[in-house]
């Protein structure tokens, strides 16, 4: 076998997950529904990082992410009596935050100065009529990637490549590959199917690989 899968999101990124011995979310929600403000504070502490990442990736702005976070947690508190536990609390919370971020984006897009050029169509590898890579990769730049990690030019190339992705693809890519949310969490938050999340993620990775290949002279 030539290579192995690397698994899903790294464990260190799944920080909102419940640690052993911790009070389960469902119990904290029950206490918060009975008016226990410290239980709600515990839920906030447990989920704020992932919610921040979701808000930041969707809005692309630190200031907007801050407002989305405030709005989302306040909304969640106000809607808590209606939470019946049919979905996971984290999924329910992501949905609230995603809605808040979407509303904010829609308001901004109505403003004339928020209009931007549409990104180019996503590019991926090319294949011959027989289905072979054509051209094949010219070099294995993955071996040079580690030593280039701190390279400023590479950083700029990555920023440009990621910013050049269409919004829907960029958000899925960032949430999954950078922030470590699961496909299911992303699907819940963005109201997509899991196959749609997987498809956007793969297309985004292929397009970014092409761009980085250009940087490394592939």
């Amino acid at each position: 076998m030539a290579d192995t899968p690397t698994g899903t999101a790294p464990a260190e990124q799944r920080e909102q997950e419940q640690a052993p011995g911790q009070i389960p979310d469902v119990e904290l929600v029950r206490r918060a529904q009975q008016g226990d403000g410290s239980a709600f504070a515990e839920l906030v502490g447990r989920h704020q990082r992932q919610l921040y990442r979701l808000a930041l990736r969707m809005t692309g702005s630190e200031a907007d992410a801050q407002e989305v976070l405030q709005e989302a947690f306040l909304n969640a508190y106000q809607k808590l009596p209606n939470f019946r536990g049919e979905a996971q609390f984290s999924s329910w919370l992501y949905r609230i935050a995603a809605n808040s971020a979407l509303m904010r984006l829609r308001r901004k897009r109505r403003a004339p100065d928020a209009l931007t050029d549409q990104p180019l169509e996503l590019q991926g590898p090319r294949f011959s009529a027989e289905g072979y890579l054509d051209p094949p990769p010219r070099s294995d730049w993955s071996q040079r990637a580690d030593e280039k990690m701190m390279d400023r030019e590479l950083g700029t190339a990555i920023d440009q490549a990621v910013n050049g992705l269409p919004d829907d693809y960029r958000t899925v890519f960032l949430l999954k590959d950078v922030d470590g949310l699961s496909n299911e969490e992303i699907a819940d938050a963005l109201e997509l199917t899991v196959p749609a999340v997987k498809s956007r993620l793969h297309r985004a990775r292929l397009a970014l690989r092409e761009k980085l290949g250009e940087f490394f002279g592939e």
């Binding site: 899903t8 640690a19 403000g37 027989e130 993955s142 990637a145 590959d177 950078v178 980085l212």
Partner: protein, 93 residues
Amino acid sequence: MTNPLEHCADCVELLGEYIDGSLPKERAEALEAHLSLCPPCITFVRTYKATRSLCRHQLAREMPPELKMSLQLFLAKNVPGYQAPDDGSGENN
């Protein structure tokens, strides 16, 4: 012995699920059989994975402490009985 995927295009199409570990075993084995015969695809897989790790390294963001603080202040003002931890960070696990 599993029959390898015939074309690089099939290999590339399945790569996302393969890397994420969600490709069914039989398909993963067919993909690996293709990789064992196709050096260009091995290079493609390696650079596909490197793309992910480079982007993660460049783009990872932590929640800034001042944002944690302002969120705690906001909730303390707007949620009855809200009790932030003593350090004001909201971190309690």
